[in-house]
Symmetry: C2
Subunit: 459 residues, 2 copies
């Protein structure tokens, strides 16, 4: 969506709007701080790569309730007892808050907030659903892409998954996130146009099948795209197709293998191409690939120069959702801060605004993080969250997507190798001050819930 | 997207457009027929429920290349050798073809085409990516929803997964598909507005945490939404919260359990509510639920009246992608039909336009399907594909979404129970005529690929 367009405020859960109405009617106008994080990484992931911030900020800047939106809400019986003033308020609704975030392309782990919103509680509440969806989805895809790209050991990986993405808009977001994670490009044309990502294409079986003769199909396509022809050779018989290309002196920029034993076929194809002097013709492979398949192919000596990865990448198929949450950590009113935390049986959240500090060894490899109170200082460690929005406006312009990709690559080079294997966990600890604060807040809330006089505003 | 808006033609893979250019430059104007199907069901699924047709038809009717789209394409070096006439053609591009499809809500199995497109080859090619993405995504979600709803044994299931969906647009599509699959509603407000789906909401932990006292939070919310208050009771101590509701005589329409042992907590909560005379107050449960968890809860005697299902539903988490394909099956030119098929090593496709026939037993339970040539007749069996678009226009108006849901429910009642377990496969066979045709076409293509004189137009 272009940045000038308004964002649809109904792209949210109903309860965000009923709670907003209740805050409004009850005149609860405190500034709330929410933190967005993933509770724990899926077993298949040793790290995540933060992504989606630009779309999140664009949403916050351009979020509006249109007349029709408000009319729809007023018709719903659930809002029957809500005053006209609330709907009047929605008419002029703007997000006016402050946002801190990790830059896109930063590795992030479980329990680490990578976005923090401070705003009047109604505003901070309404944006929850959209922020979670846009940030955790892109983060999930960028993380998967980083793994796939690492497995390809320097060879190009192209994101090819639009047809298997969760709808056409998910496809564009996936292409963007995959590029951040290190892909060289995408097959998705709109992603190319909207985000400046290099676009790539090959040839479908249907094109080969549309001609009576496979050679004729190759020739027709190659003539029109001489510098960009990647000829698909597996429609009928892969090596026979390679021979036809050689015999007809077509010299495509690449051939594409899409089925069969990719190791054996790539070795045989390479041999034939080389013997015929087509040393410049690359071999591109696709067909249900992921990081495991790519590693296996290369370990077994496949002669492949580039990979097209679809389903596994565009849906993060082995870990297709992250447990992203958005938790209230404090309320600020008249300069007093009151901490908030949740203590339900399995799910605990830490109170107060946090900063994440990352330490590194002498080789600049990351060696552990501390989730701490915002005001703590850990000399030598890098604080990862910085202020990206004030009073509802970005504090600096959106970085170029290729700059984000470069930053991500530099960050990924500093990750311990074991993070790519996902076996051993990267060390994330909470600071002593945060643990102490948790105990104090827990005690206060327990007191209050037992009806004893609270110590609101102190803890 | 409203039906009057144009659909963005760049939401596609680059190769669809390079192939389109090549067809154009080579004056290949034949009518092509493509069939869309899923090769095989994921191991976790015993059936699929077709969904997404309305969005597919809306796309086909409103697909346009805007000036900017064309300017972007012309800038790409890959199109360097393509004539100005092609871009002129894109300016006036319309989809003018014919579409046959299974109605949304029809159970469908592997190898069964559920959409068939016949159009000038350029048009039929360009629409591939979008059709695959919109149809397989919604089909996947509707299928998952049908399983979850079945597991709930008549209790309401609400789709709650917007925050975990693959971006905000995927969330709206997921809500629509989940409703087709039998969900009673969604939390997604835009899905409610756009598709008329009932919207539901409860209360988040943040609302409880925003007040010093849990009882105060309950009271404030209940006052404003007396007929719609579903109070979330697990923020601190679930049963203590239930006691507060009783003690303060709040009488909410439901309470919501979101963590802990849902069986034990629901039994205890039910007992306390009943003893206090709150027999009308329902118990609603959520928290990482899916069909397996729901079945387990009910088998163990949980006293739960409704379920909110998020991640598992909105991402079809255990099977987050379907192997959807779109295969060229024939080309028609001057009234002559030339069959097409693919014979690469693992992936075979059958030639010619098909119809799917479904047989049923005396109790009207489905007992097996035959994928046959379009012109075959199987008396007593139901043909599943019908013509839904001619010359690029829908042949009848879009059915109401609740009518689609009703049709789906009736269809699901006729599915053998084993399809919900996914162990034993439903029987899908190919007709003898189709098998014979495959042999003839394979022989012809083999001849041609060996350079022997073909029999084009005959097979």
């Amino acid at each position: 969506m272009p940045a000038t367009e308004h964002h649809n405020a109904l792209l949210t859960d109903l309860y965000e709007l009923t709670m907003a109405a209740a805050y409004f009617e009850n005149k609860l106008a405190a500034n709330a701080t929410f933190e967005l994080f993933v509770r724990s990484l899926p077993p298949e992931r040793g790290f995540l790569l933060a992504a989606g911030l630009e779309q999140a900020l664009d949403y916050l800047e351009n979020l509006r309730f249109q007349k029709d939106d408000i009319a729809y809400l007023r018709e719903q019986t659930v809002f029957h007892h809500i005053s006209a003033e609330f709907f009047e308020y929605l008419k002029n609704f703007r997000f006016t808050g402050e946002v801190w975030a990790m830059p896109e392309g930063t590795p992030v782990f479980g329990e680490e907030p990578f976005l923090r919103v401070t705003a009047p509680i109604i505003e901070a509440q309404i944006v929850e659903t959209f922020l979670l969806s846009i940030l955790t989805f892109q983060t999930m895809i960028a993380s998967k892409a980083a793994r796939v790209v690492r497995a390809a050991r320097g060879r190009h990986v192209i994101e090819f998954g639009s047809r298997r993405a969760h709808g056409p808009d998910a496809a564009v977001l996936a292409a963007r996130a995959a590029y951040i994670g290190g892909c060289a490009g995408t097959s998705n044309v709109e992603a190319g146009r909207r985000h400046g990502i290099p676009i790539f294409g090959t040839l479908a079986h249907s094109f080969i099948m549309a001609y009576v003769d496979e050679t004729e199909a190759f020739r027709k396509f190659h003539q029109l795209f001489p510098e960009h022809s990647i000829l698909l050779v597996d429609t009928y018989d892969t090596l026979a197709a390679v021979d036809k290309i050689i015999k007809n002196d077509l010299r495509p920029s690449a051939i594409r293998l899409d089925s069969g034993d990719l190791v054996e076929l790539s070795i045989q194809a390479r041999k034939r191409l080389d013997q015929a002097g087509l040393k410049e013709t690359k071999i591109f492979a696709s067909g249900d690939l992921d990081e495991y398949a790519i590693r296996g192919l290369l370990d077994r000596g496949a002669q492949i120069d580039g990979f097209g990865v679809g389903t596994a990448l565009a849906t993060s198929k082995d870990a297709p959702a992250l447990g992203g949450v958005y938790k209230l950590v404090d309320l600020e009113s008249d300069g007093n801060i009151s901490y908030r935390a949740k203590f339900s049986e399995e799910k605990l959240s830490y109170p107060g605004r946090k900063q994440v500090f990352r330490s590194h060894d002498s080789a600049r490899i990351f060696c552990g993080d501390t989730v701490a109170c915002e005001t703590e200082v850990f000399p030598g460690d890098e604080p990862l969250l910085s202020c990206v929005m004030q009073k509802g406006k970005r504090v600096c312009p959106a970085p170029d997507l290729s700059a984000i990709q470069r930053y991500a690559r530099q960050q990924l080079e500093r990750l311990p190798e074991r993070c790519f294997e996902g076996r051993e966990r990267y060390n994330v600890q909470f600071s002593q001050r945060l643990e102490d604060l948790l105990i104090i807040v827990r005690r206060r809330i327990k007191h209050q819930s037992e009806g004893k006089p609270g110590s609101e505003g102190v803890a």
